[in-house]
């Protein structure tokens, strides 16, 4: 072990019910380095970082910090050892203020709120974070919440900060700011471990990259020695880069009948006079920066959100005016919405795959069904597990036990079981590994080939370019530009999205 190493894991193994989540992994983190952990869903990245952060303990193997063998039993213990973790689903208390969150767990016997605010203000300013200490955390955007999490880690004098998918919810501008923050932390001597599915970020930001596959370490090397293709190959054991985003479209599907028309849809302040059409047999990609009103527009279409009551615009489904106030009638009318936030809106995580899909199917029946059949549910579950290649231990596996990519397939299966004509995919591959991305893309293409009207909302331009037949660009609550996939370039799309 080099003296330069701050944290090391040797032969680290963690078993869940006898199945290894990580298996004999050797990992070392140098002082003041940014170390990226990449791998498919289920590769063991989260387990490895959870071991470092004291969330889980090793079944076998050792962990050392500054050359001393340690075995933190809790996050608090890990924090005392100088290791803090910023989780993907942030661990802040939304009803408390920024300052209260910062000092949570460090309260004295007598606390003056004013004193806490002043201390928080000074501390945040020292980090150059533009966050008001008196702001309620629930009211903050994703980037600011991330800042509070980071600030809390630094306040706890963490020597190691672990980020789990830190940029998944950030806008491009916020990402840039986040990268600057991470580099600043590095300058302060803090070591960073970060998990990311966005390989470009890993290549851009990290000093070293470790690739995990099926719970084992495949390779650790300097980031400069990697390129995208090498990382992907190491992750999945085969070369997928060409099948994913590498190939530019040379043909586009012809538009079929107009399935959806939105005219001057309004839900101020997010959706402002938005008008668009969606056609059968085509993939309509909707690109825009976060806050462009894309999700809200299609949530109105699917009856999840309500348009403005006064002069809220019109929606036509197959040229018939509709207004869905709740999702069930939209489902019955053939509209399916695959959510961007699967963990909150996508499924009942403690229910089985079959039960989740069956419940979704029940919404097709007005007023539900008096008799439910477990046999029918299991059959439907098995069918969809097979159709979408959902990798689960058994039919009755709970959704919470699946990897992110397979959870996403369950969410998609729920929607497809409803036999929709219009399927809206909102960020369909967010937090999904490369292998599952390919499968989901193939599925989306198949749906369009089968004549369904498909909408793909994505903030990831290569995904929009790879999937879409026509591309709508949304900005400030309305569609501002349309491109054919044949004519569009990333620069044009981004220009339309920003200016």
């Amino acid at each position: 072990m080099s003296d330069d190493n701050l944290l090391s894991l040797s032969k680290a193994t963690k078993l869940y019910a006898g199945i290894p989540a990580i298996d004999s992994v050797d990992f070392d983190l140098r002082r003041g380095e940014i170390h990226a952990l990449v791998g498919e869903n289920g590769a063991g990245k989260s387990t490895l970082t959870k071991v470092m952060a004291g969330v889980v303990t090793l079944t076998s193997g050792t962990m050392t910090i500054d050359g001393v063998e340690v075995s933190p039993k809790s996050p608090l213990e890990a924090r005392h050892l100088g290791v803090a973790m910023v989780f993907q689903e942030n661990s802040l208390v939304p009803t408390m203020t920024v300052a209260q969150n910062l000092f949570l767990g460090q309260e004295r016997f007598y606390n003056r709120l004013r004193g806490i605010y002043i201390a928080a203000q000074q501390f945040l300013q020292s980090l150059n974070f533009d966050v008001a200490p008196t702001a309620t955390v629930g009211a903050l955007g994703a980037a600011k919440k991330q800042m509070v999490e980071i600030a809390r880690a630094v306040l706890h004098k963490a020597k190691v900060i672990i980020f789990d998918e830190p940029t998944a919810t950030l806008t491009p501008e916020e990402k840039k700011y986040f990268f600057d923050l991470v580099r600043d932390l590095k300058k302060r001597g803090v070591s960073i471990v970060f998990i990311s599915h966005a390989l470009e970020e890993a290549l851009l930001l990290a000093d070293r990259i470790t690739v995990l596959r099926d719970g084992r370490k495949v390779v650790t090397d300097d980031a400069s020695k990697f390129d995208r293709a090498r990382v992907v190959q190491a992750m999945v054991g085969r070369d997928l880069s060409h099948t994913l985003y590498g190939v530019r479209k040379t043909t586009v599907r012809k538009a079929g009948a107009r399935v959806l028309t939105a005219e001057n849809l309004k839900m101020v302040p997010m959706v402002k006079n938005n008008s668009l059409s969606v056609f059968a047999g085509q993939i309509t990609g909707v690109f825009g920066l976060v806050g462009a009103g894309r999700t809200e527009t299609f949530k109105i279409v699917a009856g999840i959100l309500k348009r403005d009551f006064f002069y809220g615009g019109k929606i036509f489904l197959r040229d018939k005016p509709v207004r869905f106030r709740v999702p069930a009638p939209a489902v019955r009318a053939g509209v399916a919405y695959v959510t961007e936030d699967r963990k909150v809106e996508g499924f009942f995580e403690t229910a089985s795959i079959a039960r989740n899909i069956y419940l979704a199917l029940m919404s097709k029946f007005p007023g539900g069904r008096a008799l439910l059949s477990r046999r029918e549910a299991n059959k439907i579950g098995r069918d969809w597990i097979k159709k979408l290649n959902i990798r689960a231990i058994g039919d009755d596996t709970r959704v919470v036990e699946l990897s992110g990519g397979n959870q996403q397939k369950v969410v998609i299966a729920k929607s497809l079981a409803q036999a929709p004509d219009l399927i809206i995919f909102d960020e369909p591959t967010r937090g999904v590994d490369v292998g599952a991305i390919v499968e989901i893309h193939e599925l989306i293409n198949r749906l369009a080939d089968d004549g369904k009207a498909v909408v793909v909302i994505s903030s990831y331009l290569p995904e929009i370019m790879a999937l879409s037949d026509r591309i709508l660009v949304s900005r400030q609550g309305k569609v501002v530009e349309e491109f054919s996939a044949l004519e569009a370039s990333e620069e044009q799309i981004m220009y339309a999205a920003i200016h």
């Binding site: 538009a255 001057n264 006079n273 008008s275 059409s277 002069y311």
Partner: protein
């Protein structure tokens, strides 16, 4: 009673017919500048309609009937009133509508005397189309306003348009459909005719038994004349695009009444065939510039558009002249020997575009 309450509620809430909403130009109607790229064959004073017998092109320019030979025009005759519609007949004849009130049938285009003349009850005949069995289909835009007063009809929310079946042999006429909101353009189909209903922004199929079926609805434009395309389908012209301001004005009867009474017609807030003549013209919310570029989504005061329709009426692609273009107010388009010949009434131009490259590029 319930209907009246619902209408009142709709007006208050802004839903149903009272919603101020305009569909977008997307999909097959995605804006381009193809009409601006068209060759200008001829500039004239008041072009109105085109007709072809497959060889020659006939043009109505005010009261003059012209024959186009390449870029040159030869005058065939001059009428006492402006021509409002033209149609070539299967036997080599020509049907000419004059000021919308009379339809004359000529045995040949250069003939001095008509073979027949139909006048009974016509008010605003703006399009003619022959049928294979020797009949003539005509759209009579309005029963209350003449062809030159279409803006009045729109502001009065007129719905007295008709589709007529004229018999040149007997001079009789029969209404196939009534109560249309400005019928403007027709083309014979197997069982009847495809008809543009401008104020309702749709194309309807009118059968010979009088039944109607919507072929294309929710257009972001005011559709006008139709003509057959090769090998099948149709060319549909739209004389301008819808704008939110005009939609708003159409839902404000008191405002319209005062505007019609007190404002000079050329400054009314109505769709136009051309714009930019005077600073007194209302803005109509258009000409929105961002970063020095006139955005294509800005609602224009005038617009140029031709839509290629499939045989079932579905749009395949479209040709545009956008807000920063000049070839606006397209009222007629016909296909002749692989070229599309069009009238841009706004600037008074006859345009020509070869169809093959369009089909290749726009993917029909």
């Amino acid at each position: 009673m319930i209907g009246a309450i619902r209408d009142f509620a709709d007006r208050f809430i802004g839903r149903g017919d009272a919603a101020i909403a305009v569909p977008s130009f997307d999909g097959a109607l995605k804006p381009n500048q193809k009409l601006e790229d068209a060759e200008v064959l001829l500039e004239c004073v008041a072009p109105e309609d085109l007709a072809t017998d497959g060889r020659a092109i006939y043009l109505a320019d005010g009261p003059k009937l012209l024959r186009l030979d390449g870029g040159a025009a030869r005058q065939l005759s001059v009428f006492e009133e402006p021509i409002s519609a033209l149609a070539s007949l299967p036997g080599g004849g020509l049907a000419v509508a004059l000021a919308g009130r009379e339809v004359r049938i000529f045995p040949e285009p250069s003939a001095a005397k008509p073979r027949a003349s139909l006048t009974s009850g016509l008010c605003a005949v703006n399009a003619l189309a022959p049928t294979p069995d020797g009949m003539l289909i005509a759209t009579d835009g309005s029963m209350t306003r003449g062809v030159g007063e279409w803006a009045w009809d729109l502001m009065e929310r007129g719905s007295s348009g008709r589709v007529l079946m004229l018999d040149p042999a007997t001079g009789s006429s029969k209404a196939l459909a009534n109560g249309l909101s400005y019928a403007f353009g027709c083309c014979a189909t197997g069982g009847g005719a495809l008809v543009s209903e401008s104020w309702r922004h749709r194309v309807v199929e009118v059968r010979r038994d009088g039944s109607t079926k919507i072929a294309l609805a929710h257009l972001p434009v005011y559709p006008s004349r139709l003509s057959p395309a090769t090998p099948d389908g149709y060319w549909l012209t739209a004389f301008t695009a819808r704008s939110l301001l005009v939609e708003f004005v159409l839902r404000e009867p008191a405002f319209r009444k005062r505007m019609m009474a007190e404002v000079e017609p050329r400054y009314w807030i109505v769709p136009r065939l051309r714009s930019g003549d005077s600073f007194k013209e209302p803005m109509q919310g258009a000409h929105i510039k961002t970063m020095g570029v006139v955005k294509p989504w800005a609602p224009p005061r005038s617009y140029g558009l031709v839509i290629r329709l499939a045989a079932d009426g579905a749009p395949l692609y479209s040709l545009h002249s956008r807000v920063d273009g000049a070839n606006h107010g397209v009222v007629s388009a016909i296909e002749v020997n692989g070229d599309l010949i069009m009238i841009a009434k706004g600037p008074g131009r006859i345009l020509k575009l070869p169809i093959a490259p369009l089909e290749k590029e726009l993917g029909a």
